[in-house]
């Protein structure tokens, strides 16, 4: 999950306290009505009477002043109402509810490559195929383990696809150099052989890869893409059958890709294929039908278990609209007041 915000989906925008909005609107309405009744009603007590004020009202200056006042009044009212609306919206706390769907495809795929010299080209092919499909993945975790006599983890299961692509490219470059004796290859596979008499142990390699799966408590689909020629040298800890049993016990599907040369040794091929079928995986020879692609296809068909995790939810305050509204209203009020002050100053008596 490199970018959190992309995954968050806006569900709805609602008010935290809608009753407060209703109450405040009611209050504003009540105040307006009260003002209308009180101020529009009887004349104020303690006022002095003046007669023949019609003459005053008929003056053009009076009309102009009233018109001016009316415009100012309307503007002030609008600005005040906008401010009040903004304040009410703010008081109601607009909140956005975001959810993060967690029903990602929950597949773990471990690339389990035989790092013995004879397998370099095959590994490069598998890696190339894999690199192309990483882009289309979502939620799957990929890991890479290489082994010969001993298994080492190049990178553990991760869904950081940028990193995965980088690593796959690096691995591909190392394997594709073609020269088993090159520095790149030696450095990359360093540590896979600690005893030159024990190499290319398919059983040990597979068992190690099965052990690389973490989150055992979660219900995830687990698969291993196992590339090998099943040409062990020396005695390993696990036999191929035992390792396949172990994988089956751990409910790990193993898809086997055998090097083309394996076909020359039918017994080895047979053993390899049987082991794969024990785990429910496929087996194919590279080169005869583009098996790397077939494996990728098989992985695609692998059941993606939808785990029963509730979506993550977060609630965020969205005060922008309210603040903007209130700010606009206040700015309007200030502007109108300034204009009013200027007009009043102009009409002021020169000598009071």
């Amino acid at each position: 999950m490199s970018d959190m915000s992309v995954g968050w989906q806006s569900e709805d925008v609602a008010l935290r306290w809608p009753w407060l909005v209703v109450a405040l609107i009611a209050l504003v309405v009540v105040l307006l009505v009260w003002w209308g009744v009180v101020r529009g009603g009887r004349p104020p007590a303690g006022a002095a009477y003046v007669a023949h004020a019609t003459r005053l009202r008929s003056l053009p200056r009076y009309q102009a002043l009233v018109q001016q006042r009316r415009v100012i009044g309307v503007l002030v009212s609008i600005a005040a109402l906008v401010t009040a609306a903004g304040a009410i919206v703010l008081a109601g706390r607009v909140q956005e509810r975001q959810t993060l769907e967690q029903n990602d495809r929950t597949r773990d795929i471990m690339l389990c490559l035989d790092a013995s010299g004879s397998m370099a080209e095959v590994d490069a092919d598998v890696l190339r195929e894999f690199r192309t499909i990483v882009d289309g993945l979502q939620g799957e975790r990929i890991g890479l383990t290489i082994w010969s006599g001993v298994a080492i983890t190049i990178f553990p299961l991760t869904d950081d696809y940028d990193y995965v692509v980088d690593q796959l490219a690096e691995a591909e470059a190392a394997f594709a150099s073609g020269d088993v004796h090159s520095d790149d290859y030696a450095l990359y596979t360093a540590g896979t052989v600690i005893d030159w008499d024990v190499q290319s142990q398919l059983g040990d390699g597979l068992a190690s890869c099965v052990q690389r799966f973490d989150r055992r408590d979660e219900d995830r689909s687990r698969a291993i893409v196992l590339a090998s020629d099943n040409e062990p040298l020396g005695e390993g800890i696990f036999t191929v059958e035992e390792a396949a049993e172990f994988a089956a016990d751990e409910e790990v599907v193993v898809h086997g890709i055998a090097a083309p040369l394996t076909a020359d040794r039918p017994r080895a091929e047979q053993q390899f294929a049987e082991a794969m079928s024990t785990t429910g995986g496929s087996f194919s020879l590279l080169g005869e039908d583009g098996s790397a692609a077939a494996v990728v296809e098989a992985i695609g068909e692998l059941e993606a278990v939808e785990i029963d995790r509730p979506p993550l939810a977060q609630v965020l305050d969205r005060p922008t609209a309210g603040t903007l509204l209130a700010g606009l209203g206040l700015a309007g009020l200030v502007l109108v007041w300034i204009a009013e002050a200027i007009l009043a100053f102009r009409g002021r008596r020169r000598t009071p």
Binding site: A47, A48, Y49, V50, A51, H52, R55, L56, R350
Partner: protein, 296 residues
């Protein structure tokens, strides 16, 4: 019963006005057209007395100017005609109600008549109805009339209607009177002018108008003002405007001029009463002008 007359007398007898008081008596005496020929007594001359009445011989003897007083052939009725619409309940200036001012000028005119032994009557009304009080002598009666005027004026009264009131006078008053019209109209309709013309034939008409408060005055800038006719407030922010104040003053001046012209055309003497202090001077001027107008 508030003692309107007491207050008016107090004001009249304030030292500064003592001269004026005598002056008014002279003025009032002189407005009688039908003075009788029976000599009554002599009294000292006061400004405003008709020069024709001076008894030169007696004056020479007494080393002071004396005027002859005659027993009037018949009593002259002073009819106070007060427009008691709700606009009279408004302010005259920052300190005084128009109502008080109307009562004051009515009282001064009435007092002059009462002191002269003449009966005083009252006609008052608004657009809805008009009432009349019979003419009687005596301060008590005058006091009652002033109370009636005072009571008839209120912010809740109907609007004033001078033509209706004048028509009522035309309809109900048969004899000749000294008709003192106290109103606050700012302009006169054609109707009113016709009625005035008609009344001035029958009566000695004296026309007194009471002014209105200028709402744009700085002295009332802090007070809340309500239009008595419309019942709505005249907003404070509006009254502070200098151009409005100017325009209003111009309008009032032009309307005043218009009113004077129209009354001049009809030949009715008139005076605007600005405030209580100016009221006595205004009445003096009114009486003086009336005498001159009659001589013409």
């Amino acid at each position: 019963m508030t003692a309107h007359l007491t207050r008016i007398k107090t004001r009249l007898s304030i030292h500064a006005h003592r001269k004026v008081r005598g002056l008014l008596e002279g003025d009032y005496a002189a407005i009688h057209v039908g003075r009788g020929m029976d000599f009554n007594d002599l009294r000292s001359y006061v400004r405003g007395d008709d020069v024709k009445d001076i008894d030169w011989k007696a004056s020479a003897r007494a080393r002071q100017l004396l005027v002859k007083r005659y027993v009037a052939e018949r009593k002259h009725t002073v009819l106070l005609c007060v427009s008691t619409g709700r606009s009279m309940a408004a302010m005259n200036d920052a300190a005084v109600d128009k109502r008080d001012l109307a009562v004051f000028v009515s009282g001064v005119m009435g007092l002059l008549a009462v002191q002269h032994g003449d009966p005083v009557g009252l006609v008052h009304g608004n657009s809805l109805d008009q009432h009349s009080q019979p003419a009687k002598s005596g301060e008590l009666h005058l006091e009652r009339l002033l109370g009636v005027v005072h009571g008839a004026i209120g912010p809740g009264s109907p609007a004033g209607d001078l033509p209706a009131l004048l028509r009522y006078v035309v309809r109900t008053v048969r004899r000749q009177t000294i008709l003192v019209v106290v109103t606050d109209d700012t302009s006169l309709s054609e109707d009113t002018v016709d009625l005035m013309r008609r009344l001035s034939v029958q009566h000695e008409v004296l026309f007194l108008t009471i002014g209105d408060l200028d709402p744009t005055l700085p002295s009332v800038a802090d007070r809340r003002l309500v239009d008595v006719d419309a019942g709505v407030e005249i907003p404070r922010w509006l009254r502070r405007d200098a151009p409005l104040s100017r325009e209003y003053a111009e309008l009032v001046a032009s309307e005043d001029l218009q009113l004077r012209r129209r009354l001049d055309q009809v030949g009715v003497v008139h005076e605007r009463v600005a405030d209580t202090d100016g009221a006595i001077t205004a009445i003096h001027r009114l009486l003086e002008r009336h005498r001159h107008a009659r001589r013409r």
